[in-house]
Chain length 327, copies 2
Amino acid sequence: MRMPATEFDIIDRYFRLPAQRDDVVLPVGDDAAIVAVPPAKQLVVSTDTLVAGVHFPENTSARDIACKSVAVNLSDLAAMGARPAWLTLALTLPRVDEAWLDAFAREFIETAARFGAELIGGDTTQGPLCISVTALGLVDAGAAMRRDLARAGDAIYVTGSLGDAAIGLGLLRQGGVADDSAAWLVDRLNRPQPRVDFALLAASCCVCAIDISDGFAADLGHVLEASGCGADVRLDNIPLSPQALAYFNASGGIDWDVVLCGGDDYELCVVTSTANEAQLMQAARQSGTRLSRVGEITPRQGLRCIDAAGETRPLPGRGFEHFSART
Amino acid sequence: MRMPATEFDIIDRYFRLPAQRDDVVLPVGDDAAIVAVPPAKQLVVSTDTLVAGVHFPENTSARDIACKSVAVNLSDLAAMGARPAWLTLALTLPRVDEAWLDAFAREFIETAARFGAELIGGDTTQGPLCISVTALGLVDAGAAMRRDLARAGDAIYVTGSLGDAAIGLGLLRQGGVADDSAAWLVDRLNRPQPRVDFALLAASCCVCAIDISDGFAADLGHVLEASGCGADVRLDNIPLSPQALAYFNASGGIDWDVVLCGGDDYELCVVTSTANEAQLMQAARQSGTRLSRVGEITPRQGLRCIDAAGETRPLPGRGFEHFSART
C-alpha cells in the first residue's frame, strides 16, 4: 500500500488551515508563523510534552491524545491567568496512518478552538510517538498569576476534584471500564478540561495560582517553596468526585496518596486573601467550576495535612515524577 | 547507583538560570514564562524537532545535538528576517545522564546566547531521545521575509555552500572522519551556523527568503509554488565549498543530487529584484557571509536546472523527506 508521499503533504492535508484569529499575520506554511501581540499585553509561553507509554497508555485513541496534548498546555496558561491564543505542534509519529492523523488533527484543532486558540505551526517527524505543544497566551502586563506570591494568612482553593485521573489510570491498568462511573474517571485522565474560563475570571482577584497536574501535594509544595511559606491543608475539605468516593468506598477507604499525589488532575490551586473569597466564588459560579477552600498559608515552613480528627497526618510522597529515584 | 531524584531537580540544575534579557518578565520556573513583546514588533514562531536516528546519528555528541537543535530553529527565524529572542525546549531523554545533560545544557544555552536568544521554559520527559525547540523572534510589523513574494525577473541567491552536510553524513556512514576536510564537512552536518546576522541585514532589502534545510531544490520549489512562478538555476553558479569540491573530484565528479537535494544545509535562499543586489552583497560582506547569485525567477512554472553547456538537466529528486514514499 502506498503511503502519503511526503511530510509536506501530511502537513498540508491535516494541519494547514486558513487563519481564524485576525492576529495571525502568517499561518502554517512558511518557515515560521507570524502573530501580532496587542500593546499592553504580555506573552505567556508554555511547552509540555506527552510521550506514549509515559504520559498516556500506548493504546490511547488519537482523539484522546490530541485532546490531552492541547489541554495540558492550556492548563499551564490558565494557571498564569493567560488567555490562550496560539499553539505550535511538534508531532513525532512512527508511521503515517491517515485515519489516526485525521482523528488527531480534527480533535486538536477543535479542542484548541474551544478555548479560542489556533494552531499556527509545528513540525512533523518520524520516530516514537511523542507530542510536544507550545502554547502562547496573553495577559495584561503585570497581571499574571504566579507561584511565588502566596502570603501567610491567604486561603488555598482548588478547582474540580482530585484523584480522579489517578483512579482512572488504575482502572485502565486493571483491564478496563466496567460502567459509566469508571468511564467518567478514565475521561478525567484522557480528556482533561483546562480551567481557562475560571482562570480568566479569577486572575482579576488572585495573584497566585498553579496547575496541579504533578499532584496537589507536589505542586502546592512548589508554591510554598517559591513563596517562602508553609500550609495547613484540611483533608476533610479536599474535593472528591462522587465517582472517586464510590470507588474508595468499594475499595476500603480513601487513599490519600492517590488523591494528593496521583497527578494528572488538570485542576488549579489558587491562593488568595480571604478578603477576595466572595469574588473568587463568583468567578467559580460564573464559569461553572466547582471550587473548594482546602486550607491556609502559614508562616511556618512545610505542608501539613490535618485529618477530620484534627490530627496531623504524615505527608504523602511527592507527585508523579518522570524520572523517579529508584535505588 | 542513585539517579538524580526528580525532574524538577534536573530542570533546576541545568536549565534554570537568571533572566539575561530584560524583556523576560518571568523566566524558567513557573507554569509558563512571561515575556514582553515591544510595540511595533510582530512575533515570529518556529518549532523544529530532532529525533535520534532520524535527524542525527545515534552516536552524535550531546554538544552537537544541542548546537543543532538551536541552530535549526534559529535558521527558520533567519529565513523570516526575525531577530531571535526566546526559546523553549522540550527534551525527551531515555535516562538521566548528568554528563550528557551538563554538556547539552551548556551548549544549548551558549549557542542561543551567541544569537541573542534565551531559554525561557520547556519540559523534560522520559522516552526515546527527541528534542523539540520552539523559537520566538521579533520582526518589525510587516517586514518579515516570506516564501510567497518571489516575482518573475527577481534574482535568486544562496548563502554559504550546498551539499556539505549530505557529504558529511555520507562520510559518517562510511565509518568516519579521516582528515580536517572530512571533519569540516561533518561539522557542517552537526554544527550548522544559522545565517542570523546576514538575514537581519538582508531583510531591509528583500521580501522573499526560505531556509533550504530540506534541500535547495525542494525548498526553492516551495517558493515557486507559493509565489506562483518558476525558476532557471545555473548549476555553474551553485556554490560549493573547497572541501566538497575536493570530495567530488576524488569520487568521480559532482553529484548534483547530493548538492541540490541533500538537505541539512542550514543556508538561506533569498529572492529579490536585481536592483537590490548591491545592498544585498553589502549585507553579505558586513556579516561575513558567502553569497552567490544562482538563477532567476521566471514567469514559466517549474524549476529548470541549466548546466555549463547551456543544456537543461533533468530535475533531481525532491529533498529529504521524513516520510518518504517507498512502494
